[in-house]
């Protein structure tokens, strides 16, 4: 389902993904994703507290190729406990935030562990539940230090550069920020519990904000991430409302995506190998008229809708990728005609 204004050109393309809760081709409760310079897609699989074998970083692409995976659940070097977000430096080295251990783990492009840094605390340079991470052209890392309600900037080796923000709901203040994106000269932050997106320059000066809180059609509720296309349209994963909200270059509301997933190639192969499920699925009506329930419950009942969308990115070919966390898949839309 989607509802967008006439001038907003976006079309559902396809879905990549599959539930792989013990590793292997697919994802398990993914939190974030990022694409490196070679168009490879890295997905952070958080997995669950009682089901930790699904925790790893998967490497795939949007053409249904699966290249492998690395890391696993744990607190030792090279392991991750509550991984949250991922980015790359100019050499395609991989940086992953870990909310529980307050560490940033670094791997090479093949997933070989390099090192990690970070320390829990509230003073400058220390972290408390680091969530979103992104890098700029100078290989500096911008991190949503979410329980400290600020953005911190580090060199790739963990040397503190600067920080901004404090707890609050005024401009430049945060309430548990989540996703962060660095675009040339601006930084966009999903100010999660303030239900808005804030925009800063690279020195941390507040520039603008958009989003009204609530569960109406044009509002945001607990946004987790944001992405910007080449025409300066903004796509917000409106996690609490289970949709993607779209805004134009003037931050005017242009519509929403609710999700229209179809079977991925990996899913089709699974069903081909499990004929009883495939036959039963032939009578399956994915979109049903549902009782009066909240958006999260609606998503739990309608398989094609987003269920906890946590991350949005736009690739070089103008594809919008929506990480559909509880469904272990990525729904892909094409922006433009």
């Amino acid at each position: 389902m989607k509802k967008v204004s006439e001038n907003t050109k976006i079309t559902y393309s396809h879905t990549v993904g599959f539930t792989a809760d013990v590793g292997g081709r697919g994802f398990h409760l993914p939190r974030d994703m990022s694409i490196n310079s070679k168009n490879k897609l890295y997905v952070v699989n958080r997995s669950g507290a009682f089901h930790t074998t699904g925790l790893r970083i998967s490497i795939a692409d949007i053409k249904d190729n699966y290249y492998g995976e690395f890391s696993k659940f744990g607190k030792n070097p090279g392991e991750l406990y509550w991984p949250c977000s991922i980015t790359f430096d100019s050499n395609d080295n991989v940086y992953v935030t870990d909310e529980y251990t307050n560490l940033i783990s670094i791997f090479d492009t093949d997933g070989k562990y390099i090192k990690r840094w970070g320390e829990k605390g509230s003073t400058e340079g220390k972290l408390n539940f680091p969530s979103g991470i992104d890098s700029d052209n100078n290989n500096n890392l911008y991190i949503c230090d979410n329980l400290n309600n600020r953005v911190q900037v580090f060199t790739k080796d963990g040397n503190f550069i600067k920080s901004w923000g404090r707890e609050g709901n005024k401009s430049g203040e945060f309430d548990k920020p989540w996703g962060i994106k660095v675009y040339d000269e601006i930084i966009m932050v999903a100010d999660w519990r303030n239900d808005r997106i804030q925009i800063f320059d690279k020195d941390g000066n507040f520039l603008d904000k958009f989003g009204d809180d609530g569960n109406k059609e044009s509002t945001l509720f607990r946004p987790s991430d944001v992405a910007k296309d080449k025409n300066n349209y903004y796509y917000v994963s409106d996690w609490g409302n289970q949709r993607v909200q779209i805004y134009n270059d003037k931050f005017e509301y242009c519509g929403f995506l609710r999700g229209e997933a179809t079977l991925s190639e990996w899913a089709k192969e699974y069903l081909d190998a499990n004929v009883d499920e495939k036959n039963a699925r032939e009578t399956f009506c994915p979109v049903i008229n549902i009782d009066d329930v909240d958006a999260h419950e609606e998503s739990a009942r309608i398989e094609s809708y987003f269920w906890d969308p946590t991350s949005v990115i736009i690739d070089k070919n103008d594809n919008l990728l929506v990480l559909d966390s509880n469904r272990n898949r990525i729904q892909i839309y094409h922006i433009g005609e």
Binding site: G17, F18, T19, D21, L29, R31, R46, S47, G48, A49, F50, H51, W82, E99, F129, K176, W178, W192, R193, R222, S224, W239, G240, A261, L263, S264, W266, A267, Y270, L271, N274, D276, E277, A280, R281, T283, F284, C285, I288, I290, D291, H296, E297, A300, R301, I302, E303, W307, D308, S325, N326, R327, N328, R329
Partner: protein
């Protein structure tokens, strides 16, 4: 009417909060002691915590509690709510119905529908028993648990028809085999959306390709038997709702309901399967509940209001006579310790501990649920019970230690301070004597370390295991 008025005291409020919730802290008890006892009952029954836990925080940080796929994740989500609700009576009543309408994730596979069932108990568990049974019969988890999706108009499956009579309303011996068949006919077509695919995903235990899909009730009129049925002496083209109306009007239903209420809120009864052959512990109390059931048009909250204000509930002879169920013990200890942080890994440990003590939430061992009483205690579970309480309450980081410390305790009053902070815990005189001997040893000094040991000793007592 047997209800009595009396002056409120802290011991009585403590008893009320233990039975109608998960035990009160000193602060809770002091607050309610300023009301009359009947006002305190009304306060507990008539208030609901609309935001018991910050669900957004839980879903963000502990994502498996959002997906609620595994039994421990679903149970942990409920554990958060039980431990944090300001008005935990709705959680206690949900626990009561979960024990009576036992549904288990081991067959259903997905936890989401179990979480939704508990939500249904919160919403309807204090209204009319008739309405609750209708909601139960429409509940997707119950439908799949007792195979009603396989109950077709031309080929009935008697599983749900039998259990709604035997386990959920009347008890064995109060209906015929023919009644079971007619009851089952009335529930044909009560199924879930997309049943064939949902059923095979459950059977194959698979979250593939895109995780579980939460179930939704569907009345399939094409698969419903609209014919005439004869049920408990009445005749008509009964649907499930009509069957439940007839069930709820039976005295056997009122008695069965009353024995469960008594068993959970007053005193341990014999195990349920023995009920057709054993007398109730207190016939007068059962009659009181039965009369209240009919007088209040099966309204559960009003029955409990009358019961809690009656001598059967208020009598000191029943104080601390029930053995805490594992979930009561765990939640009581967590609440006294100051609750969980959010996010927290402690919530997972608490959920597992309850399971190790014999009560895995959302996963009862059978359709009979948990029998309770002495069943909770064996050589393994008692160790788990004591370890859990002493670890969580005796931890120097917990608020309870700092609260006692801040009261400038000395050797004379420290034991009573500890008991007060543990919800005005009533210790036996021999226990008091032993603890006083320990306090009066020269090496005992009032610091975090010894206070922690003292708390551990107190909560290891028999008295703390009772409710």
């Amino acid at each position: 009417m047997v209800s009595i008025e009396s002056k409120t005291n802290k011991k009585e409020i403590s008893h009320l909060l233990k039975r109608a919730g998960f035990g009160g802290s000193k602060k809770d008890i002091d607050f309610l002691s300023n009301k009359t006892y009947c006002e305190a009952v009304d306060y507990i029954l008539d208030n609901v915590d609309k935001n018991p836990v910050p669900i957004d925080l839980i879903r963000r940080y502990q994502i498996d509690l959002s997906d609620v796929r595994s039994v421990f994740s679903s149970g942990s989500y409920w554990m958060y709510r039980m431990a944090h609700s300001k008005f935990p009576f709705e959680e206690k009543i949900a626990l009561f119905w979960h024990r009576l309408f036992a549904t288990g994730q081991n067959k259903l596979i997905q936890g989401k529908v179990m979480t939704s069932q508990i939500e249904m108990f919160r919403e309807h568990g204090l209204g009319s028993f008739e309405n609750l049974l209708i909601e139960l019969s429409k509940n997707p988890a119950m439908i799949m648990w007792l195979d009603n999706q396989d109950n077709h108009k031309d080929n009935i499956n008697e599983n749900y028809g039998r259990e709604i009579l035997e386990l959920f309303s009347m008890g064995a011996g109060n209906y015929s085999e023919e009644d079971i068949k007619e009851c089952s006919r009335a529930f044909t077509g009560w199924t879930i959306e997309n049943m064939p695919y949902m059923a095979i995903k459950m059977r194959n235990n698979t979250a593939r390709p895109y995780n579980y899909v939460a179930w939704q009730f569907k009345f399939d009129k094409d698969d419903h038997d609209f014919g005439i049925k004869e049920f408990l002496g009445e005749k008509g083209d009964f649907n499930g709702d009509d069957i439940i109306r007839i069930i709820c009007s039976q005295k056997a239903t009122a008695i069965y309901f009353a024995r469960h209420i008594y068993h959970f809120f007053i005193q341990d009864e014999s195990p349920v399967p023995q009920w057709p052959h054993t007398k109730a512990v207190d016939d007068k109390a059962i009659n009181f509940i039965v009369n209240s059931y009919f007088k209040n048009s099966y309204n559960i909250k009003e029955v409990l209001r009358e019961l809690f204000k009656s001598q059967y509930f208020r009598s000191e002879t029943i104080y601390n006579k029930r053995i805490k169920s594992p979930s009561e013990l765990v939640v009581n200890s967590v609440r006294l310790s100051g609750g969980f942080d959010i996010p927290s890994e402690e919530v997972y440990k608490a959920t597992i501990s309850s399971a190790l003590m014999g009560q895995p939430l959302l996963n009862p061992t059978s359709v009979d649920g948990w029998q309770g009483g002495e069943e909770w205690i064996n050589t393994g579970s008692i160790i788990e019970r004591i370890n859990f309480c002493s670890n969580i309450l005796g931890s120097p980081e917990k608020k309870i230690i700092s609260k006692i410390f801040s009261r400038n305790a000395n050797k004379t009053n420290i034991l009573s301070f500890c008991c007060e902070e543990l919800g005005y815990l009533d210790l036996h005189e021999t226990t008091i004597k032993e603890l006083e001997n320990y306090i009066n040893e020269d090496e005992f000094i009032i610091n975090n370390e010894y206070l922690s040991i003292l708390i551990k000793l107190i909560v290891s007592s028999r008295e703390f295991q009772m409710v």
